[in-house]
Symmetry: C2
Subunit: 201 residues, 2 copies
DNA sequence: ATTGCATTTTACCGATCGGTCTACTATTGT
DNA sequence: ACAATAGTAGACCGATCGGTAAAATGCAAT
Protein backbone atom coordinates (compact mmCIF):
# COMPACT_ATOMS: atom_id res chain seq x y z
CA UNK A 1 0.00 0.00 0.00
CA UNK A 2 1.65 3.12 1.26
CA UNK A 3 5.38 2.40 1.72
CA UNK A 4 5.62 5.13 4.36
CA UNK A 5 8.07 3.82 6.98
CA UNK A 6 6.16 5.17 9.95
CA UNK A 7 7.50 8.62 9.25
CA UNK A 8 4.17 10.30 9.71
CA UNK A 9 3.64 8.46 12.97
CA UNK A 10 7.03 9.46 14.26
CA UNK A 11 6.42 13.10 13.44
CA UNK A 12 3.07 12.93 15.16
CA UNK A 13 4.50 11.25 18.24
CA UNK A 14 7.38 13.69 18.46
CA UNK A 15 5.09 16.68 18.14
CA UNK A 16 2.66 15.21 20.64
CA UNK A 17 5.35 14.70 23.27
CA UNK A 18 7.10 18.00 22.73
CA UNK A 19 3.99 20.16 22.56
CA UNK A 20 2.44 18.41 25.54
CA UNK A 21 5.55 18.79 27.65
CA UNK A 22 6.15 22.43 26.71
CA UNK A 23 3.64 24.34 24.57
CA UNK A 24 2.63 24.94 20.97
CA UNK A 25 4.54 28.16 20.38
CA UNK A 26 7.38 26.95 22.55
CA UNK A 27 8.25 24.13 20.18
CA UNK A 28 9.59 24.65 16.68
CA UNK A 29 9.23 22.52 13.58
CA UNK A 30 12.99 21.94 13.54
CA UNK A 31 12.96 20.44 17.01
CA UNK A 32 9.98 18.26 16.18
CA UNK A 33 11.88 16.96 13.14
CA UNK A 34 15.08 16.31 15.11
CA UNK A 35 13.30 14.21 17.70
CA UNK A 36 11.37 12.35 15.00
CA UNK A 37 14.63 11.77 13.09
CA UNK A 38 13.09 13.30 10.03
CA UNK A 39 14.27 16.09 7.75
CA UNK A 40 12.22 19.21 7.43
CA UNK A 41 11.37 18.43 3.82
CA UNK A 42 9.75 15.17 4.87
CA UNK A 43 7.81 16.98 7.52
CA UNK A 44 6.20 19.26 4.98
CA UNK A 45 5.52 16.30 2.75
CA UNK A 46 3.16 14.88 5.37
CA UNK A 47 1.86 18.05 6.96
CA UNK A 48 1.10 21.27 5.11
CA UNK A 49 1.85 23.43 8.14
CA UNK A 50 2.68 23.40 11.80
CA UNK A 51 -0.89 24.43 12.51
CA UNK A 52 -2.32 21.46 10.61
CA UNK A 53 0.05 19.21 12.48
CA UNK A 54 -1.29 20.53 15.76
CA UNK A 55 -4.81 19.66 14.66
CA UNK A 56 -3.65 16.13 13.93
CA UNK A 57 -1.94 16.04 17.31
CA UNK A 58 -5.19 16.97 19.02
CA UNK A 59 -6.98 14.16 17.18
CA UNK A 60 -4.24 11.73 18.11
CA UNK A 61 -4.34 12.75 21.75
CA UNK A 62 -8.09 12.51 21.87
CA UNK A 63 -8.05 8.98 20.50
CA UNK A 64 -5.28 7.90 22.85
CA UNK A 65 -6.96 9.36 25.91
CA UNK A 66 -10.35 8.09 24.88
CA UNK A 67 -9.03 4.54 24.48
CA UNK A 68 -6.39 4.27 27.18
CA UNK A 69 -7.78 6.76 29.68
CA UNK A 70 -11.51 7.34 29.60
CA UNK A 71 -12.80 3.98 28.41
CA UNK A 72 -10.98 1.93 31.06
CA UNK A 73 -11.87 4.36 33.82
CA UNK A 74 -15.54 4.61 32.88
CA UNK A 75 -16.01 0.93 32.11
CA UNK A 76 -19.32 -0.36 33.52
CA UNK A 77 -17.79 -3.10 35.66
CA UNK A 78 -18.39 -1.08 38.82
CA UNK A 79 -21.20 1.25 39.97
CA UNK A 80 -21.28 4.60 38.16
CA UNK A 81 -20.16 6.80 41.03
CA UNK A 82 -17.19 4.55 41.78
CA UNK A 83 -16.07 5.05 38.21
CA UNK A 84 -15.53 8.70 38.97
CA UNK A 85 -13.14 7.78 41.77
CA UNK A 86 -11.36 5.32 39.53
CA UNK A 87 -10.99 8.04 36.94
CA UNK A 88 -9.35 10.29 39.52
CA UNK A 89 -7.00 7.48 40.48
CA UNK A 90 -6.05 6.89 36.85
CA UNK A 91 -5.49 10.60 36.42
CA UNK A 92 -3.24 10.68 39.43
CA UNK A 93 -1.23 7.71 38.26
CA UNK A 94 -0.83 9.10 34.77
CA UNK A 95 0.27 12.51 35.98
CA UNK A 96 2.74 10.91 38.35
CA UNK A 97 4.23 8.86 35.54
CA UNK A 98 4.50 11.88 33.26
CA UNK A 99 6.03 13.92 36.06
CA UNK A 100 8.64 11.26 36.71
CA UNK A 101 9.74 11.05 33.08
CA UNK A 102 9.56 14.76 32.24
CA UNK A 103 10.52 16.24 35.59
CA UNK A 104 7.33 18.29 35.61
CA UNK A 105 3.67 17.64 35.98
CA UNK A 106 2.15 18.23 32.55
CA UNK A 107 -1.53 18.59 33.31
CA UNK A 108 -4.24 18.24 30.68
CA UNK A 109 -2.93 18.55 27.11
CA UNK A 110 -6.21 20.02 25.94
CA UNK A 111 -6.37 22.52 28.75
CA UNK A 112 -2.79 23.54 28.04
CA UNK A 113 -3.47 24.14 24.36
CA UNK A 114 -6.82 25.76 25.04
CA UNK A 115 -5.47 28.46 27.31
CA UNK A 116 -2.53 29.10 25.02
CA UNK A 117 -4.33 29.24 21.69
CA UNK A 118 -8.04 29.79 22.24
CA UNK A 119 -7.78 33.52 21.58
CA UNK A 120 -5.35 33.20 18.66
CA UNK A 121 -6.74 30.37 16.58
CA UNK A 122 -10.46 29.96 16.19
CA UNK A 123 -10.25 26.55 14.51
CA UNK A 124 -8.11 25.04 17.25
CA UNK A 125 -10.38 26.61 19.85
CA UNK A 126 -13.41 24.95 18.33
CA UNK A 127 -11.65 21.62 18.03
CA UNK A 128 -10.67 21.74 21.70
CA UNK A 129 -14.21 22.71 22.63
CA UNK A 130 -15.37 19.59 20.80
CA UNK A 131 -12.88 17.46 22.73
CA UNK A 132 -14.20 18.86 25.98
CA UNK A 133 -17.73 18.18 24.84
CA UNK A 134 -16.81 14.55 24.23
CA UNK A 135 -15.32 14.19 27.70
CA UNK A 136 -18.35 15.91 29.15
CA UNK A 137 -20.50 13.28 27.47
CA UNK A 138 -18.69 10.60 29.49
CA UNK A 139 -19.63 12.34 32.68
CA UNK A 140 -23.18 12.76 31.49
CA UNK A 141 -23.40 9.05 30.83
CA UNK A 142 -22.16 8.22 34.31
CA UNK A 143 -24.57 10.70 35.83
CA UNK A 144 -27.65 9.46 34.04
CA UNK A 145 -26.75 5.91 34.92
CA UNK A 146 -26.33 6.85 38.56
CA UNK A 147 -29.60 8.72 38.36
CA UNK A 148 -31.58 5.74 37.03
CA UNK A 149 -30.02 3.75 39.87
CA UNK A 150 -31.77 6.24 42.17
CA UNK A 151 -28.53 7.85 43.21
CA UNK A 152 -29.80 11.43 43.47
CA UNK A 153 -32.92 13.46 42.77
CA UNK A 154 -33.47 16.23 40.24
CA UNK A 155 -30.29 17.25 38.50
CA UNK A 156 -29.19 19.27 35.50
CA UNK A 157 -27.13 16.45 34.07
CA UNK A 158 -25.32 18.32 31.26
CA UNK A 159 -24.51 21.25 33.54
CA UNK A 160 -23.29 18.98 36.32
CA UNK A 161 -21.13 17.05 33.87
CA UNK A 162 -19.67 20.31 32.65
CA UNK A 163 -19.03 21.43 36.21
CA UNK A 164 -17.26 18.17 36.99
CA UNK A 165 -15.06 18.56 33.95
CA UNK A 166 -14.33 22.14 34.96
CA UNK A 167 -13.36 21.03 38.43
CA UNK A 168 -10.99 18.40 37.14
CA UNK A 169 -9.40 20.80 34.68
CA UNK A 170 -8.94 23.25 37.52
CA UNK A 171 -7.38 20.62 39.77
CA UNK A 172 -4.96 19.70 37.00
CA UNK A 173 -4.15 23.36 36.48
CA UNK A 174 -3.31 23.88 40.13
CA UNK A 175 -1.42 20.59 40.30
CA UNK A 176 0.70 21.60 37.31
CA UNK A 177 1.35 25.03 38.77
CA UNK A 178 2.37 23.53 42.11
CA UNK A 179 4.15 20.68 40.30
CA UNK A 180 2.58 18.42 42.86
CA UNK A 181 0.52 15.39 41.90
CA UNK A 182 -0.70 14.92 45.47
CA UNK A 183 -3.17 17.73 44.78
CA UNK A 184 -5.04 15.42 42.45
CA UNK A 185 -5.51 12.82 45.18
CA UNK A 186 -6.40 15.47 47.73
CA UNK A 187 -8.91 17.47 45.71
CA UNK A 188 -9.99 15.08 42.99
CA UNK A 189 -12.43 12.82 44.84
CA UNK A 190 -14.65 15.80 45.69
CA UNK A 191 -15.71 15.83 42.07
CA UNK A 192 -18.44 13.36 42.94
CA UNK A 193 -20.12 15.87 45.25
CA UNK A 194 -20.67 18.47 42.58
CA UNK A 195 -24.29 18.96 41.67
CA UNK A 196 -26.05 21.57 39.59
CA UNK A 197 -29.82 21.71 39.88
CA UNK A 198 -32.15 22.64 37.00
CA UNK A 199 -32.58 26.39 36.55
CA UNK A 200 -36.31 26.32 37.33
CA UNK A 201 -35.95 25.60 41.03
CA UNK B 1 12.84 62.63 41.29
CA UNK B 2 12.82 60.31 38.35
CA UNK B 3 11.73 62.24 35.28
CA UNK B 4 10.41 59.07 33.67
CA UNK B 5 7.35 60.13 31.61
CA UNK B 6 5.34 57.06 32.49
CA UNK B 7 7.33 55.04 30.01
CA UNK B 8 7.77 52.12 32.32
CA UNK B 9 4.09 52.13 33.11
CA UNK B 10 3.17 52.19 29.44
CA UNK B 11 5.46 49.26 28.70
CA UNK B 12 3.97 47.34 31.60
CA UNK B 13 0.41 48.11 30.54
CA UNK B 14 1.10 47.20 26.94
CA UNK B 15 2.72 43.92 27.90
CA UNK B 16 -0.05 43.15 30.36
CA UNK B 17 -2.77 43.65 27.75
CA UNK B 18 -0.99 41.86 24.94
CA UNK B 19 0.17 38.87 26.95
CA UNK B 20 -3.19 38.53 28.65
CA UNK B 21 -5.08 38.67 25.39
CA UNK B 22 -2.76 36.26 23.56
CA UNK B 23 0.08 34.49 25.38
CA UNK B 24 3.63 35.01 26.53
CA UNK B 25 5.42 33.37 23.61
CA UNK B 26 2.81 34.68 21.22
CA UNK B 27 3.76 38.29 21.84
CA UNK B 28 7.11 39.80 20.86
CA UNK B 29 9.08 42.61 22.42
CA UNK B 30 8.72 44.64 19.24
CA UNK B 31 4.94 44.49 19.41
CA UNK B 32 4.93 45.40 23.08
CA UNK B 33 7.06 48.44 22.25
CA UNK B 34 4.88 49.51 19.35
CA UNK B 35 1.72 49.49 21.45
CA UNK B 36 3.49 51.30 24.30
CA UNK B 37 4.81 53.87 21.79
CA UNK B 38 8.31 53.19 23.00
CA UNK B 39 11.48 52.29 21.14
CA UNK B 40 13.25 49.07 21.83
CA UNK B 41 16.18 50.89 23.40
CA UNK B 42 13.90 52.35 26.04
CA UNK B 43 12.38 48.98 26.70
CA UNK B 44 15.71 47.46 27.61
CA UNK B 45 16.53 50.51 29.68
CA UNK B 46 13.69 49.63 32.06
CA UNK B 47 13.61 45.85 31.76
CA UNK B 48 16.65 43.61 31.42
CA UNK B 49 14.75 40.94 29.51
CA UNK B 50 11.35 39.87 28.29
CA UNK B 51 11.30 37.30 31.05
CA UNK B 52 11.88 39.88 33.77
CA UNK B 53 9.13 41.97 32.23
CA UNK B 54 6.75 39.07 32.51
CA UNK B 55 7.55 38.76 36.21
CA UNK B 56 6.72 42.44 36.62
CA UNK B 57 3.53 41.90 34.64
CA UNK B 58 2.49 39.14 37.03
CA UNK B 59 3.10 41.44 40.00
CA UNK B 60 1.15 44.20 38.31
CA UNK B 61 -1.76 41.90 37.54
CA UNK B 62 -1.81 40.53 41.04
CA UNK B 63 -1.99 44.00 42.55
CA UNK B 64 -4.69 45.10 40.13
CA UNK B 65 -6.82 42.02 40.70
CA UNK B 66 -6.26 42.10 44.42
CA UNK B 67 -7.38 45.72 44.64
CA UNK B 68 -10.07 45.98 41.98
CA UNK B 69 -11.27 42.37 41.96
CA UNK B 70 -10.82 40.40 45.13
CA UNK B 71 -11.05 43.12 47.77
CA UNK B 72 -14.37 44.53 46.56
CA UNK B 73 -15.86 41.09 46.08
CA UNK B 74 -14.76 39.76 49.44
CA UNK B 75 -15.54 42.91 51.41
CA UNK B 76 -17.20 42.06 54.73
CA UNK B 77 -20.35 44.15 54.12
CA UNK B 78 -22.38 41.00 53.47
CA UNK B 79 -22.37 37.49 54.95
CA UNK B 80 -19.35 35.37 53.98
CA UNK B 81 -21.10 32.89 51.73
CA UNK B 82 -22.83 35.67 49.81
CA UNK B 83 -19.41 37.10 49.04
CA UNK B 84 -18.64 34.01 47.03
CA UNK B 85 -21.67 34.65 44.86
CA UNK B 86 -20.71 38.30 44.49
CA UNK B 87 -17.25 37.19 43.42
CA UNK B 88 -18.75 35.01 40.72
CA UNK B 89 -20.87 37.92 39.53
CA UNK B 90 -17.83 40.20 39.37
CA UNK B 91 -15.94 37.53 37.48
CA UNK B 92 -18.77 37.21 35.00
CA UNK B 93 -19.00 40.95 34.49
CA UNK B 94 -15.26 41.30 34.03
CA UNK B 95 -15.02 38.47 31.55
CA UNK B 96 -17.95 39.88 29.60
CA UNK B 97 -16.28 43.26 29.42
CA UNK B 98 -12.97 41.78 28.29
CA UNK B 99 -14.77 39.62 25.75
CA UNK B 100 -16.54 42.63 24.31
CA UNK B 101 -13.36 44.66 23.86
CA UNK B 102 -11.08 41.86 22.69
CA UNK B 103 -13.55 39.73 20.80
CA UNK B 104 -12.63 36.72 22.91
CA UNK B 105 -13.06 35.60 26.46
CA UNK B 106 -9.63 35.84 28.07
CA UNK B 107 -10.04 33.74 31.20
CA UNK B 108 -7.66 33.95 34.12
CA UNK B 109 -4.33 35.63 33.29
CA UNK B 110 -2.52 33.51 35.87
CA UNK B 111 -4.05 30.28 34.67
CA UNK B 112 -3.14 31.19 31.10
CA UNK B 113 0.50 31.84 31.98
CA UNK B 114 0.68 28.86 34.31
CA UNK B 115 -0.35 26.31 31.71
CA UNK B 116 1.88 27.88 29.09
CA UNK B 117 5.05 28.32 31.12
CA UNK B 118 4.93 26.12 34.21
CA UNK B 119 7.04 23.41 32.60
CA UNK B 120 9.46 25.81 30.90
CA UNK B 121 10.27 28.40 33.56
CA UNK B 122 10.62 27.38 37.16
CA UNK B 123 10.73 30.93 38.51
CA UNK B 124 7.54 31.97 36.78
CA UNK B 125 5.91 28.74 37.89
CA UNK B 126 6.75 29.46 41.53
CA UNK B 127 5.56 33.03 41.25
CA UNK B 128 2.24 31.92 39.82
CA UNK B 129 1.94 29.31 42.54
CA UNK B 130 2.38 32.12 45.06
CA UNK B 131 -0.35 34.15 43.36
CA UNK B 132 -2.69 31.19 43.58
CA UNK B 133 -1.78 30.76 47.23
CA UNK B 134 -2.74 34.38 47.86
CA UNK B 135 -6.11 33.92 46.19
CA UNK B 136 -6.62 30.69 48.09
CA UNK B 137 -6.06 32.65 51.31
CA UNK B 138 -9.06 34.83 50.43
CA UNK B 139 -11.23 31.77 50.18
CA UNK B 140 -9.84 30.43 53.42
CA UNK B 141 -10.73 33.67 55.14
CA UNK B 142 -14.29 33.52 53.88
CA UNK B 143 -14.58 29.89 54.91
CA UNK B 144 -13.31 30.37 58.45
CA UNK B 145 -15.60 33.34 58.87
CA UNK B 146 -18.55 31.31 57.68
CA UNK B 147 -17.48 28.51 59.96
CA UNK B 148 -17.39 30.69 63.07
CA UNK B 149 -20.86 31.88 62.07
CA UNK B 150 -21.85 28.24 62.40
CA UNK B 151 -22.32 27.83 58.66
CA UNK B 152 -21.03 24.24 58.40
CA UNK B 153 -19.43 21.58 60.55
CA UNK B 154 -15.99 20.04 60.30
CA UNK B 155 -14.11 21.14 57.21
CA UNK B 156 -10.59 21.06 55.85
CA UNK B 157 -10.52 24.79 55.24
CA UNK B 158 -7.28 25.06 53.22
CA UNK B 159 -8.19 22.09 51.06
CA UNK B 160 -11.70 23.39 50.47
CA UNK B 161 -10.34 26.80 49.57
CA UNK B 162 -7.94 25.19 47.12
CA UNK B 163 -10.77 23.14 45.64
CA UNK B 164 -12.89 26.25 45.19
CA UNK B 165 -10.05 28.00 43.42
CA UNK B 166 -9.54 24.95 41.24
CA UNK B 167 -13.20 24.91 40.33
CA UNK B 168 -13.20 28.57 39.36
CA UNK B 169 -10.04 28.17 37.30
CA UNK B 170 -11.66 25.24 35.56
CA UNK B 171 -14.83 27.16 34.87
CA UNK B 172 -12.78 29.99 33.38
CA UNK B 173 -10.85 27.50 31.28
CA UNK B 174 -14.02 26.00 29.84
CA UNK B 175 -15.58 29.42 29.37
CA UNK B 176 -12.53 30.61 27.44
CA UNK B 177 -12.50 27.46 25.32
CA UNK B 178 -16.19 27.82 24.55
CA UNK B 179 -15.78 31.61 24.27
CA UNK B 180 -18.97 31.85 26.24
CA UNK B 181 -19.26 33.89 29.42
CA UNK B 182 -22.64 32.38 30.23
CA UNK B 183 -20.78 29.33 31.49
CA UNK B 184 -19.52 31.38 34.41
CA UNK B 185 -23.05 32.27 35.48
CA UNK B 186 -24.25 28.73 34.92
CA UNK B 187 -21.50 26.85 36.71
CA UNK B 188 -19.93 29.44 38.98
CA UNK B 189 -22.46 29.59 41.84
CA UNK B 190 -21.93 25.89 42.60
CA UNK B 191 -18.54 26.83 44.02
CA UNK B 192 -20.23 27.44 47.37
CA UNK B 193 -21.25 23.77 47.61
CA UNK B 194 -17.72 22.45 47.45
CA UNK B 195 -16.55 20.92 50.70
CA UNK B 196 -13.52 18.86 51.56
CA UNK B 197 -13.57 17.08 54.89
CA UNK B 198 -10.49 16.48 57.04
CA UNK B 199 -8.51 13.40 56.03
CA UNK B 200 -9.08 11.65 59.37
CA UNK B 201 -12.75 10.89 58.83
C1' DA C 1 14.40 -1.50 -18.87
C1' DT C 2 11.63 2.30 -18.08
C1' DT C 3 8.24 5.11 -16.49
C1' DG C 4 5.84 7.14 -12.68
C1' DC C 5 5.10 8.21 -8.10
C1' DA C 6 6.05 8.59 -3.19
C1' DT C 7 9.43 9.74 -0.19
C1' DT C 8 13.68 11.84 1.29
C1' DT C 9 17.46 15.02 1.25
C1' DT C 10 19.62 19.36 1.09
C1' DA C 11 20.00 23.97 0.55
C1' DC C 12 17.79 27.96 0.99
C1' DC C 13 14.16 31.91 1.76
C1' DG C 14 12.37 36.25 4.05
C1' DA C 15 10.63 37.44 8.45
C1' DT C 16 10.89 37.72 13.07
C1' DC C 17 12.87 36.50 17.48
C1' DG C 18 15.18 38.50 21.90
C1' DG C 19 18.82 41.35 22.77
C1' DT C 20 23.00 44.77 22.13
C1' DC C 21 25.39 48.93 21.02
C1' DT C 22 26.33 53.56 20.28
C1' DA C 23 25.04 58.11 19.71
C1' DC C 24 22.00 61.66 21.03
C1' DT C 25 18.90 64.47 24.09
C1' DA C 26 16.98 65.84 28.07
C1' DT C 27 17.13 66.96 32.96
C1' DT C 28 19.18 67.55 37.41
C1' DG C 29 22.53 68.84 41.06
C1' DT C 30 26.44 71.65 41.96
C1' DA D 1 28.09 77.05 33.25
C1' DC D 2 29.02 72.41 33.47
C1' DA D 3 29.32 67.70 34.43
C1' DA D 4 26.79 63.74 35.51
C1' DT D 5 23.04 61.00 34.83
C1' DA D 6 18.53 59.15 33.04
C1' DG D 7 16.20 58.34 29.17
C1' DT D 8 15.51 57.95 24.06
C1' DA D 9 16.44 56.68 19.38
C1' DG D 10 17.47 53.56 15.91
C1' DA D 11 20.66 50.80 13.59
C1' DC D 12 22.27 46.36 14.09
C1' DC D 13 23.32 41.33 15.74
C1' DG D 14 23.21 36.18 15.32
C1' DA D 15 19.76 32.78 15.92
C1' DT D 16 15.66 30.90 14.98
C1' DC D 17 11.05 31.05 13.08
C1' DG D 18 7.75 28.61 9.63
C1' DG D 19 7.95 27.39 5.05
C1' DT D 20 9.72 26.46 -0.08
C1' DA D 21 12.17 24.50 -4.20
C1' DA D 22 14.51 21.27 -6.46
C1' DA D 23 17.16 17.69 -6.83
C1' DA D 24 18.07 12.76 -5.41
C1' DT D 25 16.40 8.21 -4.03
C1' DG D 26 13.62 4.19 -3.46
C1' DC D 27 9.99 1.22 -5.09
C1' DA D 28 6.17 -0.74 -7.95
C1' DA D 29 3.81 -1.56 -12.02
C1' DT D 30 4.22 -2.01 -17.02
Amino acid sequence: MTPEHGTRRRILASARDLIYSRSYTGVGVAEICTRAEVKKGSFYHFFPSKRQLSLAVIDDLQNAIEDRGLSPAFAPDIPPLQRLQRFIEHLHAFQCAAAKTHGHLLGCPFGNLALELATSDELIRRKLAAVFAAIQARFEHVLTEAQTAGEFGVLDVPATAKAMLAYIEGVLLLAKTANDAALIRQLGPAVAQIRILPADC
